[in-house]
Symmetry: C2
Subunit: 431 residues, 2 copies
């Protein structure tokens, strides 16, 4: 919808048809955990633009419950399944924008198809989760997988009132952080009363329980938090080239390998500015930006997406978490030699009454001193500082340049050396 509305702005005469398998458009999937937790009252609050608004204000022919089930790129036709009327019809196009998103990974285990095993991606998923939670007693929830959504859903159901267990097959949650940082998230979850079971792979799902290597965990509801995989099969079957992790390969203008066929959002791959490799990053920020670029280009304008630096943020059980650039593992995979420094400091001046603890870790390349990444775990006001790192990564700054940035200081906001600079100051001599 971001691409469609952008194209509409540039080309008022364009005929735009949008196919949506479900019932909602332009919504914040990232808001689903807060809906479950009760922070947000109604599903409709997560909808930025309703189908009605898109139709009347943007003159987009939004067709709900209509699913693209085939693409013929030579004949320029999409085969559409109209679930509402139980029919299939062909839809011709000049330009095709694919924004099919991603879906939760469902491991190939016994019982994975059970009704009480739920993914979290669409508002349909959210509605089903809320319904399942109300219908059953839902006293015990097991979250399988310690990714962002897994952790957010664990907290959401805990706040909703359930007894929550998080089961993670590896020995750390949130594998997008280094283990020495993510361990503090586990502490925060356990402090709140969520049971976190690490290095415990799930073997099967049964009625009323999850079977792991250690035994049976009672579960009225199972939530999958194992990450997502791109919905790229439709494009792949049509002969569109797939790239990183099976996502649709696109160039900086969001063009696919097929002329006049574009892709953006969670179904497409993208460019990592630090590793200079193609990656698949399923985040709302990337989806919105790449969709805008696709829409500008489809509308006859010119836009290029310069890529990501790997920024992400969340808040788990009162602990803020953020990362940008590369973790140690990612730096190793990309072939960088690097040094790291970690500091524990406070979110405000140390003497300020609202000071909370925060930890920040920074990586920089040996030789050049170029900043490669940072991770933050801490109290209120700590994590959004990652934006400074993201901007410095984009500008390819080195540690010395970060040290001398003119960052904002007043006692309610920071120490006189902002934590981002304080860790750079510790890292500089190590390099």
């Amino acid at each position: 919808m971001a691409a469609a509305s952008q194209a509409r702005r540039l080309r008022p005469q364009l005929e735009i048809v949008a196919l949506e398998r479900g019932h909602w458009t332009s919504y914040s999937a990232c808001g689903i955990p807060y809906l479950v937790a009760g922070d947000v009252d109604e599903i409709d609050q997560l909808v930025a633009r309703s189908p009605q608004e898109l139709r009347s204000r943007f003159r987009i022919d939004v067709r709900l419950q209509q699913e693209a089930v085939g693409i013929d790129v030579d004949r320029r036709v999409v085969e559409v399944r109209d679930h509402g009327h139980d029919r299939t019809y062909p839809l011709a196009f000049d330009q095709l924008m694919i924004g099919t998103g991603a879906r939760p990974l469902r491991p190939d285990l016994p019982g994975i198809g059970s009704d009480h095993v739920r993914g979290v991606q669409t508002l349909e998923d959210a509605a089903a989760l809320l319904e399942a939670a109300k219908r059953s007693r839902c006293e015990r929830v097991v979250v399988v997988g310690g990714g962002y959504i897994g952790l957010e859903m664990a907290e959401a159901f805990h706040r909703w009132g359930a007894q929550v267990t998080l089961v993670e097959g590896s020995d750390a949650v949130m594998r997008t952080l280094d283990p020495d940082m993510s361990t503090h998230i586990v502490d925060a979850m356990r402090d709140l009363g969520i049971e976190v079971r690490l290095a415990e792979p799930v073997k099967a799902f049964e009625a009323g329980s999850v079977v792991t290597g250690s035994g049976r965990l009672p579960a009225d509801l199972v939530v999958l938090g194992l990450g997502v995989t791109p919905n790229a099969e439709l494009a792949g079957d049509a002969g569109v080239t797939l790239g990183a992790r099976g996502a649709i390969e696109v160039d900086a203008r969001q063009r696919t390998s097929v002329d006049g066929v574009w892709a953006a959002g969670d179904c497409a791959d993208t460019w990592h500015r630090v590793t200079r490799r193609r990656v698949h990053i399923a985040l709302g920020t990337v989806a919105n930006k790449t969709a805008r670029v696709a829409g500008v280009n489809i509308g006859g304008g010119y836009a290029r997406f310069p890529g990501v630096v790997g920024t992400a943020i969340t808040k788990i059980c009162g602990t803020e978490v953020a990362r940008s650039g590369l973790t140690e593992h990612e730096a190793q995979m990309a072939g960088f030699e690097y040094a790291t420094a970690t500091i524990e400091t406070t979110t405000t001046a140390g003497y300020f009454p609202s000071a909370e603890k925060m930890r920040i870790k920074m990586l920089a390349e040996r030789g050049t001193g170029r900043v490669l990444g940072a991770q933050i775990v801490g109290g209120a006001g700590s994590a959004k500082r990652i934006d400074t790192v993201a901007t410095a990564l984009t500008a390819e700054m080195d540690v010395a340049e970060v040290l001398e940035l003119d960052l904002a200081y007043a006692p309610p906001f920071s120490s006189v050396w902002d934590p981002v600079q304080a860790v750079a100051r510790k890292l500089a001599p190590v390099l």
Copy 2:
């Protein structure tokens, strides 16, 4: 002290003597309003390093109540007034670091020398203010001048329990912001019950009152908030060249015009990276960074200070305020042609329960699209975003580059387009 301890790290054998007119070392002057407001309980909490610690840990010969009253740069001698023992003695040096700071501006008006008219710069000032506040009834406080310290002290005394009036000669407070932004600060102060009188120049100070163009304002205590002027007379009298606004002129290594004489902090001028002019900016961040650079160089290392981009932040009556780069007035003075955009948005996703209003204004150069500055006024979580702008200014990014930054998004922290990007998005077509 920052320069001295840095030099000590690099040269363990160096003999370092530090002269301090007052009783305290290495303290946070920025913390004084929070001491008066009661956020901070004890003066000593604002002290980062005591004279004892500097003596024992850093082996710096700290001499309290000893004031440099003359410098002979040819004979390499400082004349020292020992207030404690009422004597004067000569002190020889090889290298001299001048860190005499700044002092509150005291307008040349009748009664300015009265005991109840107070500046706020040193911990001595803080102690005197607290003492005066306790001694008198201190029911009515008049703050003269709407700069950062003036506004912070107005709030501090309001929270302390006094009836506070702020008197400002011009038609806006905080002249470091554009009036269309600073007006929201005035609203926040008035909402809290602080009387703000604009365009009302002070004529005289009398016992128990402040005389303005409109009449007499009762005042048990008068606090000066008119800004500061560098303590550069000592250096100027010694023949050291003075620069911007009478501050000591230094180069990027913090060298003055006299060989072996260095200056840093509020007494020195500095380089503005956006205007490419020398400026005087009396802020703790600049003081700490320039002192570190001076200390590295005095210690035999090599460091250059690349300059500032004009970042500042504060919190007034629950409203966060920040700026970086140039205001409209500053851009005009520097000869830039520019366009501006302002948006009102929320600190978190709009549907999130803790969403607070925030307003952000951005300036960019016509033709190049280069970002020239931004200002933020808003609720909790809004102002520290200025660091993104400060980093982008340092990297000389244009509006399109800011638009595509990989900034962090999750519903508790931001909209999917961070406010910094949302305003860039509005500004781009205006350019």
